[in-house]
Subunit: 872 residues, 2 copies
């Protein structure tokens, strides 16, 4: 049985699940005495029961609605459909969580041919009455009955054009009366029945329409995508109308209690005189800034300002408020927590703490960690952006905004950069050989590849703006031009990229620069106070390391050594090493690399100023270092004095069917121990150099791709030997650790055995995700698109750690690892280390740290703090 | 402290761990009263203690040896080094498990310049005494002191040549005396010291040498490879000499109690008159068959025959016996269980059951399941093989023997086959396009690829002989020839392959054919009586299915549908399906495939005669079906009336970085549901056809590569729809199941969820091994060789299921699956399904069945029975 309808006087903000967000807030505002037009709410329970009863409004519900309607009529001394003092209603949906795709609002319900005359007489405003009537017919036809809007708008436009009007307000009473007739004709023609003149029938049709909209396909998809349970249902709010369209002493508007862009504590919003709600949105007339209301209706402004204060104090958050002024009477029609930019969010949270509205913990929980990304990268000036030409959209692979001249290969970018030009690297797709070009560029644009393609991963690591997989751009690397449909952009011409949205523009767009000072710093200090999980960074260069430290990184979780191998002065030596036929030849090449790597490491150790630093030994398959194009191979042959055929043969030998599962990582070191021996020496010698420069270093040496403890045992033995040799040679005492990546499922499954040899585990969740799912991230984008559109996957497992599968392995390995070695250090260093939901998972299973790209460090810090607070 | 030396009278066969295999059996034979020359055994404990004491023979041990020696001297009334009646000894190693690579035997120990004269006098046989002396010096120098044998043999050869002797027996006393002098000179020259004349010194040096040989590198590697614990240690057997070299009434030999090739219950062996043990092995004189002893020394023969009976009755197994006859006295020097062929093993076991020597269970445990392979494939006639020319050796990829004319591409093989020729397909490596050629060939030879390459896997599936990765063969597919060094074999010339050894021969070698009747059948019936685990087969054609049923398969665990797609009349339609641009075009091509697949399935169902049959829907990435060579692409373009560029583009679109982790399996069905819909229809229509022909069918439809329950849910829905449609259309009632492969680690980890949708799990342990280890089986051979040589892996995880990692997932998934669905059917269908250790694992974790290639079905049956017996 139960109660299915609540008057606004009966509810409160705590009853959101039953009354929906809107209904609960209307009741709350009524309770605290704000001027809310009276009304009542049909509950979400009623919605669910409606579906159980085959979408029929049953007698009990009908009774409750009618009882509440009578009460409302009594309160206002008006009557629905009355021919003297007619009551008009608004009908609005109100789900627990606000949801696009559902029916929104019907205004002026209750009008018919007699009620409109009564309204006209009562208000002594015939124009207002017919204006309301024509609005109602259009809205009801569109929203409740599904007749397309443009059919009505065409009639309005025709009349305005024939009469030479600019605004709707110029329509005369006669115009409006004609419009009403014509609108009713459309209704009849479309639905082959008369427009319903019985106000109660209108009301029930509207209520049914709200219920039905809960189940329309768009709403359904939205719920699935946003994890909103289907069983929540929607409430329906029925409220007496107040009118902003009663002339110059009336109006309607929306306002935020603080500036939603900057967070400044000043009322922010706009309103329209003589208008109803939808006019503000429609943009036919330009609304006025809220401040100007102060001059026009100072008393109302004062009353409104006081009300916003009351609401903010009451809800303890910045509010987004809808209001209407009817003949110099203020009414509040809705309030809710306002959406805001990351900058505003932080500024408001910090201000509210100093205003004692909320405490620090509440402030921390208020900020959406993902949103922080906005703050950490430059973005385009809004004004400049409005004038720019959007030419294409790709994947938002690495956030930020960048402008520069386009170049189509890495060396041209490097050259341009040396000439002081800002350059954008445009490629079909990038490969490790493009690294130097990527470093020298302002941003990267690729035509192929997904969110985890080489370009995307490397760019995010560098904090460099990148738009990837922009498939309608045709890149001709040979002609040095790109085409989008008919537009041709040649080398040296400007484009701009927005890596946060994937947009590509022509020209050079002015940008806002990053400013992480003041309240941001204060806020992040609070974050660090409650955080338990450490946050490290993935950094391969001293520069990355410095950036990350600036963003609060507490160490390096992953320093990849392969990018270093691609630098211009090294790649020939690296290639020589790979092509050598004997161990001696390889040794010789490695000896040339040793001082270079030593310098890499000493500089990184110095940049980290004593923070923990994990260095991963060489990981990628060797063929990645060899040239692919005929010309390059020929050049290499000449350089090295080897025959073209010999090099070609070696390249073919190194080719693999599935390089991801091939001869890489520790498997290289089993075949060529010399490589890791050189790297281990370079790490220790670099560490000693840094120590001599006054930095307290204790390196963590990481062996990648271990799947069996015997691999680690074999490699660790010679690594430890060389480490001990270096320490003995230099007579230095230094702590160090040898550990491993856990990125192969078997390593996770046998972590108890592996922990016998490994002093730390770093979960490489990128590869672990690839192998656990059996997805090659280079190939999976092709079919994962279908997985998303067919709703097989809710989330991309390369972006958010898959708790059920990959996460299960991580959890299992952590447990097994600790069983063998109680104090084993555990962290993750995959892309997931900077994704809030994944960070929360890492906190919950008790890892010691997450490691992510420098620009995601603040996000990870916040997510870790929120996870700690949630746990309590 | 303990006791380190046991007289033969003190031990027994149960003391193998302490006395070693040889020592325990010498003691046992002594105990049951057989004529064993007396002696004693130094224990394996002594060996371990020796290593703990820094390889020194400590006082206590020395005391014990000397006490036992005195006792022996007393028993025999001889004395070591005595100048009247000298005792001579043999010293032999004796580990718990017989082990090549260790020191073997020293005979005639105790001789020196005085003892030789005493021996001569005592035996009245100067020639014998000096013959024994020269043998001793050579053996001691070689075996104990490590002087190379050839140095001694050269001297022997020189004398024989200069005197014109053919046999050693022609050497005169003077010759032998000279030889002794020269041998001692070599010793002195090599070691810069005199040959030790003190017999006790000789003895202790020999004991030390046995101990030391336990730790030599070859023995060490052998132990690691064969899982023999290092701590076992070796025993040393010191035994009084008996002499087969005392003239025509003496001799020495070896014999098996039954024929080790056929199992026939007849004494089998050979002996030499006037010889010591090593002469039989050396092959200087041709030994006589044991039967001829009956004529020469009938009493001795009778005594020997009786002894072998006693031994077989006592040990209840066929024995391999060493004996010596000294002046018409028989001595037994060793007995052990004899090695035998698979055929002999089965015949002997079955015979022994009927002789009531053993019971059926013991018979089952006696047979090495792996060895059965020999029985199931033809092999070369021994005689013919001896005359054949071995030209190369590759990997023994699929067992059996094959001869035929070489052809270098699939269509030439098909053509030759149609002309009634036997053909061998020779390829650099095979690809799915070679399937028809493989089917039509007698055997396959590839120059590249490992034990799990395409050629190997497919050949094993077909039970076809294959030698893979034969890397010193240069194959020129264009010139249609192969080269091995200077030898050129052209198209049409004969070669022969032994797929069990990897040997490649020139010419056409006569073969023994397979005969699985009589005792084999009887034995396999016993096997099936104790077996719990069911054995199914992996079969893709009616022919394979029939073969497997003949071998005892109880169902099909994996019927791959992709090989069917490669048949000549289908591949154009398949390609059309892949290249179609619209769903309609694809539908049209699929409709052409439908009747073909229906026929495939109805024939397979009929071949299986109502046994459970699991059919896997399409699995491989689509690019596998498209041509690779320019010419083929052009032909396809002409055939299909599509532009060359269009096809090329499509091929490029389908290219993948890691096809193993790419767009395949159920992922194809998410993108192109039409394919599985056609296959599901074909399966059901085929099943109905078979049912109409009187076969009781209930198909099991298997969805491959599931990693997330939602994939299965999505696909199962349309598969079940089409199945139900077909049943409704044909008004037939038929049971069917829909299940999944568990081959992606995530599927195993989330098996509880997947079991909600899957009615059965089939563990695809090939792919599961690839993904769990992160090894591409197409690439891993390159580095797994190093893994084996560096002893990182003991076993190839693609051959023997890795219990710790992959097995853990299988076990976990079985448990989770059963938690959700109690009666879920569980099986494995990877290569491991036919490997005994893996079958045992499957039995132990309670799977319902294993499925393997037809020719491995008997192996799996036996392994399953043994697992069941072991469990009890």
């Amino acid at each position: 049985m139960g109660k299915f309808v609540y008057s606004f006087k009966e509810g409160s903000k705590e009853m959101k699940n039953l009354l929906g967000g809107k209904g609960a807030n209307l009741a709350e505002m009524t309770k605290i005495g704000l001027p809310v037009p009276p009304g009542f709410t049909i509950t979400t329970d009623a919605c669910n029961t409606y579906y159980k009863k085959d979408k029929k409004i049953w007698d009990e519900l009908l009774d409750e609605i009618m009882t509440n309607l009578s009460e409302l009529e009594k309160t206002l001394d008006k009557k629905l459909g009355d021919n003297e003092n007619p009551l008009l209603l608004s009908v609005r949906s109100g789900a627990v969580i606000s949801m696009p795709g559902m029916m929104d609002t019907i205004l002026n319900l209750g009008l018919n041919d007699t009620a409109v005359q009564a309204l006209s007489k009562k208000t002594n405003n015939e124009r207002f009455a017919y204006d309301s009537y024509r609005r109602f017919i259009q809205m009801f036809s569109d929203v409740v009955m599904g007749i397309q809007k443009y059919k009505f708008e065409r009639i309005l436009d025709d009349i305005k054009e024939s009469k030479g009007y600019k605004y709707d307000t110029e329509l005369t009473v006669d115009d409006l009366k004609n419009i009403v007739v014509e609108f009713k004709n459309i209704y009849k023609k479309e639905l082959r029945q008369e427009f319903p003149s019985d106000p109660k029938e209108q009301l029930l049709l509207a209520v049914k329409a709200v219920f039905d909209s809960w189940n329309n396909p768009r709403a359904d998809i939205y719920r699935k995508l946003n994890d909103i349970p289907h069983k929540l249902g929607t409430a329906v709010n029925i409220q007496s109308m107040v009118f902003g369209n009663m002339g110059q002493t009336s109006g309607t508007g929306v306002a935020f209690t603080r500036n939603p862009s900057t967070g400044e504590n000043v009322l922010f919003g706009e309103y329209l005189v003589d208008a109803q709600g939808e006019d503000v949105v429609a943009g036919i007339r330009t609304p006025q800034p809220i401040a100007s209301l102060k001059e026009i209706m100072p008393d109302i402004y004062k009353q409104f300002e006081d009300t916003t204060r009351i609401l903010e104090d009451h809800y303890k958050d910045m509010q987004d408020i809808e209001f209407t002024i009817e003949n110099e009477n203020l009414y509040i029609l809705q309030t809710r927590n306002g959406k805001r930019t990351a900058k505003a969010a932080i500024n408001i949270a910090v201000d509210m703490v100093s205003e004692k509205l909320i405490d620090k913990k509440q402030a921390i929980m208020r900020i959406d960690a993902k949103q922080l990304d906005q703050l950490l990268h430059p973005n385009f000036e809004e004004k400049a952006l409005k004038q720019a030409t959007l030419i294409s959209k790709g994947l938002p692979a690495s956030p930020g905004a960048a402008s520069g001249k386009v170049y189509f290969n890495a060396s041209d970018v490097v050259a341009a950069n040396e000439n002081g030009e800002k350059a954008i690297l445009v490629r079909l797709e990038t490969s490790p050989e493009d690294i130097e070009g990527m470093v020298s560029s302002e941003g990267i644009l690729t035509a192929r590849g997904g969110m985890t393609s080489h370009a995307a991963v490397v760019a995010r690591g560098m904090g460099k703006c990148c738009v990837a997989g922009c498939s309608d751009i045709k890149v001709s690397e040979s002609k040095k031009e790109l085409r989008v449909k008919d537009l041709v952009i040649k080398e040296g011409e400007y484009i701009s990229l927005d890596g946060s949205t994937g947009s590509v523009y022509t020209g050079n767009i002015t940008k806002n620069e990053v400013e992480l000072v003041g309240k941001f710093e204060e806020f992040m200090d609070w974050v660090d106070e409650v955080r338990v999980l450490k946050v490290r960074t993935n950094a391969d260069t001293p520069n990355d390391a410095k950036t990350a430290v600036k963003f609060g990184a507490e160490g390096i979780g992953l320093c990849r050594t392969e990018h270093m191998f691609f630098e211009e002065d090294r790649i020939p030596v690296v290639r020589k090493m790979i092509l050598s036929k004997t161990v001696d030849e390889r040794q010789e090449a490695l000896e040339k690399l040793l001082p270079m790597q030593r310098k890499d490491f000493s500089e990184i150790f110095e940049a980290m100023e004593g923070r923990d630093t994990t260095i991963r030994l060489l990981d990628p398959p060797l063929h990645e270092f060899l040239p692919k194009k005929e010309e390059d191979i020929k050049n290499l042959a000449d350089d090295m004095n080897i025959s073209y055929e010999d090099i070609l043969k070696r390249i073919e030998d190194l080719e693999e069917f599935n390089p991801m599962l091939g001869h890489r990582g520790c498997r290289l070191a089993v075949t060529y121990p010399e490589i890791y021996i050189m790297q281990a020496r370079a790490i220790m010698e670099g560490a000693i150099e840094a120590k001599n420069n006054g930095v307290d270093v204790s390196p963590e040496i990481m062996i990648p791709l271990i799947g069996d403890v015997n691999e680690l045992k074999y490699i660790k033995e010679f690594v430890v030997n060389v480490v001990e040799d270096v320490l003995k040679e230099s007579k230095v005492d230094m702590k160090y650790m040898v550990g491993t990546m856990i990125e192969v499922p078997r390593a996770a499954l046998t972590a108890d055995e592996i922990a016998k040899e490994a002093e730390f585990f770093s979960f490489g969740t990128n590869d672990l995700t690839q192998m656990t799912y059996g997805f090659s991230r280079d190939d999976a984008n092709k079919f994962l698109v279908e997985y998303e559109s067919k709703e097989i996957f809710e989330k991309d497992p390369f972006q958010t750690l898959d708790k059920n599968g990959v996460g299960k392995l991580v959890k299992m390995a952590s447990k097994l690892g600790r069983e063998t070695r109680e104090d084993i250090k555990l962290g993750i260093c995959g892309e997931h280390g900077g994704e809030p939901a994944s960070v929360e998972f890492c906190h919950n299973i008790g890892l010691n740290y997450v490691s992510c790209s420098p620009y995601r460090v603040p996000i990870a810090r916040l997510a870790a703090a929120q996870a700690a607070l949630k746990e309590k």
